[in-house]
Structures are given as structure tokens and as C-alpha cells.
């Protein structure tokens, strides 16, 4: 599933610029697309993702709302019922929590409860994750909440090009999409050429970012660069790691993941969210089930600790980094006690 998008104009260099560009192009292409949230208008958002939109499309298309997240998402539901395609910005992950009732009880369920008559093409943009020195409540990774809620798509880009393509796909989707933006990749730069038409991924397709044969790192969002770096470092140890960027947590592209692990025989799931009850449980369980006879070692998880997100000065100890990924890879039973008859 791919969406062809023709994008013209100057070349953005960062993920934040690509997101901004995606919003602008979507708004230009479809007058039904409306952006709303706190500070998205005059200020252009605290991360500047909506910069210039109010100026270009007017306050009615890019609206500074009152400070109330349930109200923002709840009014977006009504706007979608009338045929608009609202793109909602939550200012930070934890500040979206007041809107969870609207998300769980209405956004996720409206199509289903009305037998498909009232789809809600809403995109909820949520800057998520840590690594930017944010104080309390500014670094949550809440993707497990959305994954557990049937009716939502959950998407997160790890590259500049994907940020553009996935956001366009999310806005074009007739289903509600929770669009998770890795805060610490906002300023990640890339050679991205929006002036030429390009194929961008649709929702639900993972991508193999690096081919390898020894083991598969399954990851997404902010942990993708970490895994790629780990894969480079692993070469020194003689490991040739494959890195799968899921891009879409719901729907999950199981086939890409399963094909990779069946080939490599080993897997590590890597994410920032707390481990227990986090996305990695689903991912590891699915892989362990579907690749059972191909696994040379248990599927391991490298995740944030099972603690509330730490204060800025301690976050480096919490975030899964290259070393921790390599440690996990080292534990993948390269000389299996199992084949050698040892006991677990």
C-alpha cells in the first residue's frame, strides 16, 4: 500500500520541517483539512510544526483552541462528523491524557458503533518520548495505550521522508490515526527532496532499514537511529544485524517482521516505553509465536525501565542506548546451551 504524493517547493532538512510541509501540502490539497490545538496558530506550535499555517490558510483552518484537550479532540469529532478532516495537536504526550476518554470511547469506536456510517478521519499528532531534557510529564511514551485500543491506527516515523509520507497518509486515512512524533528526532536532518514526486509509505508497512543475517532488531520511532548505530557497532563483534523499522504499530506489518526473524533466527525488540506492559510484549509474543521453530534464542526486549520517566539528569540511564542493545544481542545464545545440551 503506497500513496503517491507530488510535493513541490524548497527542500526541508529536518523532520520538523517535513511535518510542517506535510501539513501545508495536505491543507492545500484538501480544504477539509483543519489543524487545531494549543498554540498551533500564531505561535506555530511549541515545536513549530504548524509554523506559518495560520498565516497561509487563516485562523479558521489552523486554530488556537482554548486550553482543554478533551475539548480539542471532542470538537474534532464533531467537525469530522460534518465532513472535515481535523488534525489535532496535543502539546506533549502526557498532556493528551485528558482526551483519552474521547479517544477511547468515541474516536476509536464511532465507525464501528455506527456500522461504518460515521467514519472519523481524525489525525491526532502527539510529540512523544524523551531524550530532550524535558521535565516531568514531557517525555512519556504512551503508545501502549493506543495499541490496546481497537479502532485506532498508530503510526510513528523515524526518518524525515517517512515523517512527511506517513503524515500525509494519516491525514488521507478515513480511519483515526494516532500519529506519534519522536520529539528527539524533530531536529534530525536528512537529505530529503520534496521537489520531486516520490513514493511514500502507506500505513501498515514496516521497512527493513538495514539488511543483516545474524539477528533482527525490531524497533520504531526514536529507537531506530539507536538500533542502526548498534548494528554498525556490532560489526566489530562479528554480528550482522538486521534492523526493522515498524513505522506502523497498528496495523502491524507482521509479515515483514516474521520474515526477517525466520531468516535470522534471533530477535531483540527495542523501544523507549517502559518494558512491562509495553509495546514490546505484543511484538515479542507475536514473533515468538510465529517464528517458534526458527528461533535460536528467546526474543529479548531492550526498553525503558519500569519506572515513571526520569528527570532530565537521569534520563540517559533510562533510555535504551547502543550498549544496552549490544548487551542484549550478546545474550542471544550464540553458543546455545540448548544445542549443547545445557539447561536454562
Amino acid at each position: 500500500m503506497t500513496t503517491a504524493v507530488t510535493a513541490t517547493g524548497r527542500r526541508p532538512a529536518t523532520m520538523s520541517q517535513a511535518l510542517n510541509r506535510a501539513l501545508r501540502d495536505a491543507m492545500a490539497a484538501d480544504p477539509a483539512v483543519h489543524v487545531l490545538g494549543e498554540d498551533v496558530g500564531t505561535l506555530g506550535g511549541v515545536f513549530r510544526i504548524t509554523a506559518g499555517l495560520a498565516e497561509e490558510f487563516g485562523d479558521d483552518r489552523c486554530t488556537d483552541t482554548p486550553l482543554a484537550e478533551a475539548g480539542i479532540l471532542g470538537t474534532a469529532v464533531g467537525m469530522a462528523m460534518y465532513g472535515l478532516r481535523p488534525v489535532v495537536e496535543m502539546q506533549f504526550d502526557a498532556f493528551g491524557y485528558p482526551s483519552l476518554e474521547q479517544l477511547f470511547s468515541h474516536v476509536a469506536k464511532m465507525r464501528n458503533r455506527t456500522r461504518g456510517r460515521l467514519p472519523l478521519p481524525i489525525t491526532v499528532r502527539i510529540p512523544y518520548g524523551g531524550g530532550i531534557g524535558g521535565v516531568e510529564h514531557h517525555s512519556d511514551s504512551s503508545e501502549a495505550l493506543y495499541m490496546a485500543t481497537p479502532g485506532l491506527h498508530v503510526v510513528t516515523p523515524a526518518t524525515v521522508a517517512d515523517a512527511y509520507g506517513l503524515l500525509r497518509a494519516a491525514i488521507a486515512s478515513d480511519d483515526p490515526v494516532v500519529f506519534l512524533e519522536p520529539k528527539r528526532l524533530y531536529w534530525a536532518k536528512a537529505d530529503w527532496e520534496p521537489d520531486r514526486p516520490e513514493e511514500v509509505p502507506g500505513i501498515g508497512t514496516a521497512v527493513v532499514r538495514r539488511r543483516g543475517s545474524s539477528a533482527t532488531l525490531i524497533t520504531y520511532g526514536p529507537s531506530v537511529p539507536v538500533c542502526l548505530e548498534a548494528a554498525e557497532a556490532a560489526r566489530a563483534e562479528g554480528w550482522d544485524l538486521e534492523v526493522v523499522d515498524l513505522r506502523s504499530l497498528v496495523p502491524l506489518d507482521e509479515e515483514t517482521v516474521v520474515a526477517s526473524v525466520r531468516r535470522t533466527g534471533r530477535a531483540v525488540v527495542v523501544h523507549e516505553a517502559a518494558g512491562f506492559g509495553g509495546p514490546g510484549g505484543e511484538l515479542a509474543a507475536t514473533v515468538a509465536e510465529r517464528c517458534f521453530h526458527h528461533l535460536e534464542a528467546p526474543v529479548l526486549r531492550v526498553t525503558g525501565f519500569d519506572v515513571p520517566y526520569p528527570p532530565p539528569m537521569l534520563e540517559k540511564h533510562h533510555l535504551p542506548g547502543v550498549d544496552r542493545v549490544l548487551d542484549a544481542v550478546a545474550r542471544l545464545q550464540w553458543e546455545s546451551e540448548w544445542t549443547s545440551g545445557g539447561a536454562n
Partner: protein, 378 residues
């Protein structure tokens, strides 16, 4: 030069933007609920409107008793009756034009029907064969909403979108006294006021949220007094006085349509039945209270007025009641038919397209159903 050396005296805060921008007085509700029946103004009421309201009230009451009976026969999972509140239900529906939208709460089946919904489709949620049984776009009735007050921001968003589109569409949203305590009520009214959205909020204050009386719900002079805190004008009305509710709501709808923004209407009424068929209301209220309200019954109040003005005789009453009985009989008959359900539909509307997992799960259920089928065949 320190500030001590400066001349100049105290100046008031410089910006007007921090100061009142709206005159609060016109936003406050009257002290007494607005009433028409039993007042001199009643004489001027349009006979056609009164008869229209009356017919709806009689059928509405009958619908409530019939639906409650259907719960006893196991034909409905649950029914939250609006007996005693029919004037609010009917007036809410009739105050709207066809192009307008109604946002009912879980108790407002009757309002949805008065707006033209098929009475059986309207009961789908409560029968349990699906959630929303009708196409919300057909009669512009949003799904009957169970999570309290959560549909209010939807009404605001829809009204706002309509206004942006240049359509003169109004949204009317219904909520109970209990629902006004929810954060969503607050946020909806605030968004509506800031956006000047064409939306009317109707609070049916029936004195209880299940067992919790109004005095434990709020300490406000009235629920209508919440309006001024948003810059929204508020009206207090006798919710059992059908023409009064109709007039107040129609006025609010007209105001919204003309670009005047939202209105908050508090209707004083009473739920004569228990919260639902599953509830035992004697646990939290007295028979005397119920009796007092029964003596202020919306159907009877209007009936008496019509009789007083010579607009209704026994034959008319009988005719209306017969129509109501026919409606009830038809409802009963139709509800006695088992709905045809396809379990496979479980997977059809989660997303526009089934995901891979949903396809696998659908296959599993299909196989199970086939096996069960075979089992019963043998």
C-alpha cells in the same frame, strides 16, 4: 533614577483585554422558570402547535411505557425511561429544522424518534443487536450517547464546522443535571462560546443523577447560572410546560442560526419512572415527591390547556390515544421479531479495511460457526 524619584501616581491596569468584555447582566437567567401554561400568555399560543405537541406527548408517553414493558419481556436489555420528561424530549426535536443536528444522551430516545427516527432502529442500542442502529446522517441525530456529556463537544465541533462552511445549521445537545458536573460539559460550553458556535445546550434537570439528588451535584443558584461563566446567555424554563420549552428552545435555535452564538437552557423536570428498569427508585426518593410531580405532568398540563381553550374534546383525546396504542402495538410486534444478526459483522467496521489480524480472527470465527452449524445439523 529609581522609581522613587519618578513623579506619577498609581495607574490602573493598562489593558482592557484583561477586563470584562461582555455585560454579564443579560446572560443571567430569570429567577423564575419561564412558563406559558396557566399564564395569560397561554391564550395567544398557536392551536396547531399545541395539538402537534400534544400528539407527540401522548405517543411519547406511550412509547416510554411500551419500551419499559419490553424490558420485562426480555426484548430490551435495558430502558432508561423519559416518562415525565416528554415535554423536553418533544420540544427539543420540534425546535429544530430538518437540516439541524440533535445530540441526544442515552435517555433521549424519544427526542430522536420525535425527530423522525424509526422507533425500532432507535432502540437498537438498548435491545443489544448493535450499538447505533440508525444512520446518524439520515435524520441528523448523533448516536445516543452513554458516556455522559461526552457528546457535547461533538455538537460544538459540528456546529462550528457548519458555520465555517457557511451552512446555517444548528446543533442541539442534551445533557442531564448530573452530566453538567463532567469536565466535558465545561469544555464544550467554553469552546462554543469562544467560537460563537451555533449550538443550543439543553439541560434536563430532573433532580437526580440515578440516586444522587441535585443538592449533592451542585451548590449553584441554578444550573443555568453556569452560562455567564462562559459568556453564554442562559434561560430557565419549566420543563413540563411543553409550549414554554418549545418557545425557549426555538428562540435559542433562531439566535444560534442568526449568528448569535450558543445558549444554555435549563429545563426543570422530573423522571417519574426509575433511572432504568433495573433501578429501584424507592431507595432514594419518596412516593410523596413522585406524586407531587405526577400532579405536574407534562401531558396532562397540555391536555388541560387544550381543553380550556376548547381545542380538544374527549373524542380527540381518544383519537390521539388510539394512535399511540397503534404505535405501541406496532412497536411491540416489531420488537418481538428476533433481529437477524451476522456475527461476522464484528470485524467489518473496526477499520475501513480489515487488518491482517482481523482477517485471521474472522476466519477463526467463521470456522467455529461452521462447526457449530454442523454440530446442530447432526
Amino acid at each position: 533614577m529609581t522609581v522613587l524619584e519618578q513623579p506619577g501616581s498609581h495607574r490602573p491596569p493598562p489593558s482592557r483585554a484583561w477586563r470584562p468584555r461582555t455585560d454579564p447582566a443579560p446572560l443571567l437567567p430569570d429567577e423564575e422558570p419561564y412558563r406559558l401554561l396557566g399564564t395569560p400568555a397561554a391564550d395567544a399560543l398557536d392551536p396547531g402547535l399545541l395539538r402537534l405537541l400534544y400528539g407527540h406527548l401522548v405517543r411519547g408517553r406511550r412509547y416510554n411505557t411500551q419500551a419499559t414493558a419490553l424490558t420485562r419481556q426480555g426484548r430490551l436489555a435495558v430502558y432508561p425511561s423519559s416518562s415525565g420528561q416528554e415535554a423536553c424530549q418533544v420540544a427539543a426535536a420540534l425546535a429544530l429544522e430538518e437540516r439541524d443536528w440533535l445530540f441526544p444522551s442515552y435517555r433521549d430516545t424519544l427526542a430522536a424518534i420525535a425527530r423522525g427516527l424509526d422507533p425500532v432502529q432507535a432502540l437498537t442500542l438498548l435491545r443489544g443487536d448493535w450499538h447505533t442502529g440508525y444512520d446518524p446522517r439520515e435524520h441528523r441525530v448523533a448516536p445516543l450517547c452513554t458516556p455522559l456529556a461526552t457528546q457535547l463537544p461533538h455538537a460544538v465541533g459540528l456546529a462550528h464546522a457548519a458555520r465555517l462552511a457557511g451552512d446555517d445549521v444548528v446543533a442541539l445537545a442534551m445533557v442531564g443535571d448530573g452530566g453538567t458536573s463532567e469536565g466535558d460539559f465545561h469544555e464544550a460550553l467554553n469552546f462554543a462560546a469562544v467560537w460563537k458556535a451555533p449550538v443550543v445546550f439543553l439541560v434536563q434537570n430532573n433532580g437526580f443523577a440515578i440516586s444522587v439528588p441535585l443538592a449533592k451535584q451542585t451548590a449553584a443558584p441554578s444550573l443555568a447560572h453556569k452560562g455567564v461563566g462562559y459568556g453564554i446567555p442562559a434561560r430557565l424554563v419549566d420543563g413540563n410546560d411543553a409550549p414554554a420549552v418549545h418557545e425557549v428552545l426555538s428562540g435559542a435555535v433562531r439566535r444560534a442560526r442568526a449568528g448569535g452564538g450558543p445558549t444554555l437552557v435549563e429545563a426543570l423536570t422530573y423522571r417519574v419512572d426509575a433511572h432504568t428498569n433495573a433501578d429501584d427508585a424507592t431507595r432514594y426518593r419518596t412516593d410523596a415527591e413522585v406524586a407531587a410531580w405526577r400532579a405536574h405532568d407534562p401531558v396532562e398540563l397540555l391536555e388541560r390547556e387544550l381543553a380550556r381553550r376548547g381545542l380538544l374534546d374527549e373524542k380527540d383525546v381518544a383519537a390521539e390515544r388510539e394512535a399511540a396504542e397503534r404505535m405501541a402495538a406496532e412497536l411491540r410486534d416489531r420488537m418481538n421479531e428476533d433481529p437477524v444478526l451476522d456475527p461476522m459483522e464484528l470485524f467489518d467496521h473496526v477499520y475501513a479495511r480489515r487488518t491482517g489480524r482481523l482477517r485471521r480472527q474472522a476466519e477463526q470465527l467463521r470456522a467455529e460457526l461452521a462447526a457449530a452449524e454442523e454440530g446442530t445439523d447432526r
